[in-house]
Symmetry: C2
Subunit: 281 residues, 2 copies
Amino acid sequence: MLRVACVQTDPKLGDLAQNLNRILRGIREANADLVVFPECALSGYGFDSREAGLRAAEPLPGPGSKEIQTACRETGAWVVFGLLERAGKRGLFNSAALVGPKGVAGVYRKAHLPYLGIDRFTDKGDVGFPVFDTPVGRIGLLICYDGSFPEAPRVLKLAGAQLICLPTNWPEAAEVSACHSPMVRAQENHVNFVTCNRVGQEAGFTFRGESKICDHSGRVLASAGREEQTISAELDLASADRNRVVYSEGRYELDRIAHRRPEFYAPLARRTRPARVRRRG
Amino acid sequence: MLRVACVQTDPKLGDLAQNLNRILRGIREANADLVVFPECALSGYGFDSREAGLRAAEPLPGPGSKEIQTACRETGAWVVFGLLERAGKRGLFNSAALVGPKGVAGVYRKAHLPYLGIDRFTDKGDVGFPVFDTPVGRIGLLICYDGSFPEAPRVLKLAGAQLICLPTNWPEAAEVSACHSPMVRAQENHVNFVTCNRVGQEAGFTFRGESKICDHSGRVLASAGREEQTISAELDLASADRNRVVYSEGRYELDRIAHRRPEFYAPLARRTRPARVRRRG
């Protein structure tokens, strides 16, 4: 069993030193095998220019990830945290990093960008949806708005992910369905699904917290409120690999992967939309 | 605006005459532009052999659809209903039909089949996910377990569907996430989404009702209880075509279709699963 914690922090815009300290304290207090932090937990999110975002960005590995690695070595924990990532001279991504005792084990760059906050100014993620096979399990990362695109977690599941971590910055205004989506994503993919949202206010937005740890059946094992808070639960990662589920003493069986019909899914991978259908009736 | 009604019926296994009468009464009482009935509303669902299913199956058009067409002509309504469809000499599908005043305007054959009820014995749907362009709007049909596969509503949306109707037979035991999925499907696809579930008991299952009419933002406009009941609401179908949504006086914008990254979605359409990822860290 893997003990997973989500630490709902309230990052301060552009104050990397304070935000890093909050992350380090969160790792040490969480007492977990994997500790998940929000989107842009190191940097804050609501920057109003690319230049401001670049000033709050770090490379991977970088100063923040190295301090986090030290905390991982001390505690034995693995960590997922969000940051603005500087790539090369001018690249700027909204990224999530997976860090372990030996350093950065995985980097995900947000693929789906809303017109909002720093995402207006960052580069579109260019790494697809990688799965990172680590000693604690096969882990996929997504960020915030990515969770609205069912293709993303599905690609991770098909590549073998047992656990998907979604650092997020869901604002108060997020439609209520966004709060249902972790359970639906977990269930439809038969995958453990963890969301870690921030709290507090920034650039006119109030963030709603409500982080969740869902198992592969879509059940919510732990759920947070709207304040700074750490939640945790134990997840059985290997059971996410057994897609065939038998209910009611064999009276019915579901397999949400084997029962797919990919021969009908070709339009999903097309870069242009198909022509509209013809009128009937 | 389109007035849509869901009629939660309690079909009797194999009693097509009684079930058809219930459907006809539902159409006449609904006072709606589009009236949706449950999965297998004409036949019942819990058959324990293919032969029993074939005895309760009808072709399309067939005796049931013709009576329904007459009710459409009298009321001006369009109708979606579920049935077992006999195709050719030996074909048997779990289907949903769209019927209007001029007859059958669309047939959908359930693509994703659980090991459960008559689905153990029916043929896998062979028509993909067609969208039917009718005088009341562009309509896509799905059935029950299809709703657990996010690829299906996404294909319909990309082909121009403004409204997706999902006749279903969700049992009491259905995980709670299945009940959240209509809101999530509506929101993630920016499409109106209507589920019509049956009630009552059959073959050891109790069905939970809770039919829902959701608009393209994922908002629930009408929701049913667990008894026979008709619910209705008005939907603005054309607004589902305007995917770009502006919030908070232009402070942010979302477009759940334009912001897709299909260049990363190729694994979804592959017929074999990709190889597992390599170990890192």
